[in-house]
Symmetry: C2
Subunit: 242 residues, 2 copies
DNA sequence: GTCTTCATGTCGGAT
DNA sequence: ATCCGACGTGAAGAC
């Protein structure tokens, strides 16, 4: 068996799995285990999952992911920073992953491991993402008239007692303007959020100025639209560019 | 090479990867590819990621996950229901995954595949999860006095123009009571949500009854607490049991 | 550490 | 299909 192949084990014995995971953990490798297992979780919530074929991923940062054959989300997991140990118990290969704060434990028990791999992953690149709320904000700062002619941004992340306002500025009549940004179609929650900021600022500015609230998003749902009208808030349609 | 090993390829050629993925896709297998790749995504947002070692998972339901050596979250992904094709292009192995509605595309280009696997995953078990909001609701329905002596639940998921109320009931003075449940410590958003329900119900009941709003959660943040006071809403501390 | 909000959130249920 | 809210949400940034 060559050096390369040593990191891939097909139908390994329990002992071989154990030694592969122990050595891989020590060397900071990215590992996968595929086989028949059951899973228990106890922490903020608690769960059990009976025997079935799943893919378990162990990352060098302590992340554990248990994936079934379906879905984007892992059926069970443990976040980065966890510590795990592997042992043989009652004829099963058992991986116990522990986390503190909150105290959480994930236990995966294999009765059969179909294959196991361990590889060093070198990844220095950062993801470049476009079309986020930050991009939408930058578009507006670049061309404030997108909100309305005469709009002047004064600050971003302006602090209020209710939290930070996305963009704070003034309109051509010197009214205060609170702009809440959403990168996609919004529901009532975003309107409530904007409303909290507007109400709070009205109080903080001692009612000497009118405070307008403008929701900026690609679109709004019907409920959100009604709520905007009720609260005397405005809507401007803008979509972040990719 | 045995039948079992046929699903695991170490340092496969591009052609071997292509044929493994094509055959695995056709047969509904769960596949993993580990190697050096770059990734592009375009859809609701857009992203690029330069070359690095990553683990790519292809599920029979169309899910694609690209995992780096760090983090719970995939760095790029495609949800269930996507279709993918694999091809050779400019000396690279390229996987293109496409989704409609919204139109989204994920392209993974490998210049080197370190290993590739394809396995049939049989999983009939459902996850049993405890300690959810539904469990908290059941606790209260079982013992309504947990809210307060005399509380009587009348319905769950009661519809209002603002959405469904978690638990709707009456107190010992025949006031209407809206209960909003959260399984964990809550911030201002949950208070706003409860407030929307209470305001809407006050209007729908024609002001002939007082509507009390009670937030039930393990705890609340300071901001949320202030907002509760402002809105004349109440708080009851309860934690869902595992 | 806690708090707050964003996210290509994902997921499920109801309409 | 869209809407709406829960999620063991996770992740990032501010304090």
């Amino acid at each position: 068996m060559s050096d390369e192949q040593r990191h891939v084990a097909v139908l390994p014995t329990h002992d071989e799995v154990k030694s592969l995971v122990e050595s891989g953990t020590e060397r900071g490798l990215l590992m996968t285990l595929f086989g028949r297992c059951r899973v228990e979780y106890d922490g903020r919530a608690a769960s059990t999952l009976g025997f079935g074929d799943r893919l378990v991923i162990l990352k060098p940062d302590g992340t554990v992911l248990v994936h079934t054959d379906e879905g984007h989300q892992p059926v069970n997991w443990q976040p980065p920073g966890c510590t795990h140990e592997i042992k043989k118990q009652d004829g099963l290969v058992v991986i116990e992953s522990h986390r503190e704060n909150p105290d959480e434990e994930l236990i995966v028990r294999f009765d059969q491991v179909t294959h196991a791999t361990a590889f060093e992953a070198t990844d220095t690149e950062e993801l470049q993402l476009h079309g986020t709320e930050a991009d939408l904000r930058d578009q507006i700062l670049e061309e404030p008239d997108l909100i309305e002619p005469g709009f002047e941004p004064l600050s971003t992340e302006r602090e209020t007692a209710a939290g930070a306002v996305d963009i704070y500025g003034t309109d051509s009549d010197e009214n205060a303007v609170v702009v809440e940004l959403k990168r996609r179609r919004v529901g009532p929650d975003a309107v409530s959020q904007l409303n909290r900021y507007v109400e709070t600022l009205e109080r903080e500015l001692h009612a000497e100025t009118t405070v307008r609230g403008i929701l900026v998003a690609p679109s709004v749902t019907d409920r959100a639209s009604e709520l905007l009208a009720e609260r005397n808030l405005e809507f401007v349609s803008l979509t972040p560019t990719n």
